[in-house]
């Protein structure tokens, strides 16, 4: 394996959890709901994925458990914000706090245990191709899921009737409701989808990225995913670009440090954030298009009047 290929693989691994969590949140926000609990759902996915894999011996069941737990955990947020119409910001923040605490409790007996790694794809011949073999045919299954999710969500949002309905709810829930669209039901499904994605992103951390469980192992990745959605102005392809840019600059700056050029490491460490924000802001500089993409009802509680 050459160094270029190895670096690209490292970038893909760093970008994948951000991409998946951000895609999930993108769908949630497109439906007009702002869930700040991504970090909490992600860390719950990480711990439950790890624990399920450790108990059953199957990392695949771990992935499944993470997805289910992420979706169930997000239901708590869904019930409070959608059925009881609580403030979305406060509820989302509490979901993050709850997730961080609860995951610590669930995982207490599993710290320091050697985890199981989800096996990477291997196709004899293809995976051994020079340069692209490992990148295209030899990555972990969650990487392929993240690409499929990007394409799937693009198709769903912009090419299907249900996607159009979802976006219309995000833009104006009152009108959608007046048209007879089940606003709350759509939003429940969107929130659960977001939770499932965050859970899957968490599973990537504890079963692929660093196959172990340590408390707070998401280390702020849920927040980066949230920011990506906004800076990518709610477009799936831009989220993909943002996640990979962030991953690439993160890994790039480490390589620059290791080469010993003597550039201040504090500056280098902040580069991924700076670069991602600058690039995504530049991409989204067309104000009219950005306004069109911004879900107009984002974060506003909806109480059906009749």
């Amino acid at each position: 394996m050459g160094i270029a290929e190895s670096i690209l693989l490292t970038i893909a691994t760093a970008a994948t959890p951000l991409l998946i969590a951000a895609l999930g949140e993108l769908v949630v926000e497109r439906s007009g709901v702002l869930n700040l609990g991504v970090e909490g759902m992600m860390v719950m996915g990480a711990v439950c994925g790890f624990v399920a894999a450790a108990l059953t011996g199957s990392p695949w069941l771990g992935v499944l458990a993470a997805i289910v737990v992420g979706a169930l955990f997000s239901l708590l947020f869904g019930f409070l914000t959608l059925s009881v119409a609580t403030n979305q910001v406060a509820t989302g923040l509490s979901l993050t706090l709850l997730g961080l605490g609860l995951s610590g409790m669930i995982g207490e007996g599993f710290v320091g245990q050697a985890g199981q790694k989800l096996p990477s794809l291997y196709i004899p011949g293809l995976s051994d191709l020079p340069l692209v073999g490992r990148l295209v045919f030899g990555q972990d299954p969650i990487f392929y899921m993240s690409i499929a999710l990007t394409v799937g969500i693009m198709w769903f949002l912009f090419r299907t009737r249900a996607g159009l309905t979802l976006r219309s709810i995000g833009d104006n829930h009152a009108s959608a409701h007046a048209l007879g669209i089940p606003v709350i039901a759509y939003r429940y499904l969107a929130v659960m989808f977001g939770g499932a994605c965050a859970g899957l992103a968490g599973a990537h951390l504890s079963l692929v990225y660093t196959p172990q469980w340590v408390e707070n192992m998401t280390a702020g990745r849920g927040w980066i995913a949230l920011a990506l959605v906004v800076f990518a102005s709610w477009r799936p392809l831009r989220v993909l670009a943002g996640a990979y840019l962030f991953g690439a600059v993160t890994i790039g700056q480490i390589h620059v440090q290791a080469l010993g050029y003597g550039i201040p490491s504090q500056l280098l460490s902040s580069l991924p954030y700076l670069a991602t924000i600058v690039v995504l802001v530049l991409i989204s500089r067309n104000r009219r298009l950005t306004m069109m993409n911004t879900p107009a009802s984002l974060g506003r509680a909806f109480v059906p009047d009749r």
């Binding site: 160094i3 190895s6 670096i7 490292t10 760093a14 959890p17 610590g104 995982g107 207490e108 710290v111 320091g112 245990q113 050697a114 790694k117 951390l205 990225y209 660093t210 196959p211 172990q212 340590v214 408390e215 707070n216 192992m217 280390a219 702020g220 990745r221 993160t250 890994i251 480490i254 390589h255 440090q257 290791a258 080469l259 010993g260 050029y261 003597g262 550039i263 201040p264 490491s265 504090q266 460490s269």
Partner: protein
Amino acid sequence: MKKIVFALAAVLAAGVSVPAMAQDKIKACFVYIGPKTDGGWTQAHDVGRQMVDKELGEKVETQFVENVPEGPDAERVIERFARSGCAIVFTTSFGYMDQTLAVAQKFPDVKFEHATGYKTAPNLTTYNSRFYEGRYIIGQIAAKVSKTGVAGYIASFPIPEVVQGINAFTLGAQTVNPDFKLKVVWVNTWHDAGKEADAAKALIDQGVDILTQHTDSAAPMQIAEERGIKAFGQAFDQIQAGPKAQMTAIIDTWGPYYVKRIKMVLDGTWKGGESSWDGLKDGILTMAPYTNMPDDVKKAAEETEAQIKSGELKPFTGPITKQDGTEWLKAGETADDKTLLGLNFYVKGVDDKLPQ
């Protein structure tokens, strides 16, 4: 409504009465930077706290708060401990230094101990461990085992404790191979498994075949295991994460110190304004079993460890040249603790520029 108020009052009263019953016990309180099960730095402190529970459980009740960020939040937590009747508060991260001092000045009757810092007060003592003694040993091992002649060092923040480690590692390696190179990556975090793993991968891609770290998770050890290179555990025995990779680990062993100091609080001999800086010989740090290395390397490591314990060998003994080429220590001269505690420069041979 009245009923609710009543119930609340009852709960509050119950809450208050619990500490009153336990009045004959003193409280020892700990502030942690990470989760108590981080498999590294904080867990090592928590193992120490559990030792206090076990040995002094009759007279002492311990409390702790995890995940306290360095900065203003820390001051709030430390102050809450001071107000809640803790007899002694241990703050276990370098970045709590100013906050601990501030609270110590506000609460002269409470005793404070701050780990790895250098500011003291009449009721504030600092305690530290000569981690660098262990780093010197692993530097020697690294230079003996490495085939590429380059090791990777994953560092957290450019504070003296970390700089001591990097320098000691380099000096140890140079006793074996004067041209041994060290690549340093600063991840600017104590605890982010993913970032530590990224750094480990990048360093390996650049040709290091030995990894060491001054961050708190076992992720680099795991990457070393996966990529088939060798590594050293940090703060805690990480052999589970790297059964084939870990050659040894520098294990922080705070328990005996905590027990000793709390006993001093109990019998009234505790004094503030001191700085205690123990090393291998006092057992505040211990080396995990030497594994995954040839017998002669193991033997040499054990010898070095014995020499450091006996005081025969001090890692920072001249001649040592600074990275910029100027002389730091003359032949036979040993660095004093004050310089070491404020160490802010590299020795010659470190392939990095120290962030200032």
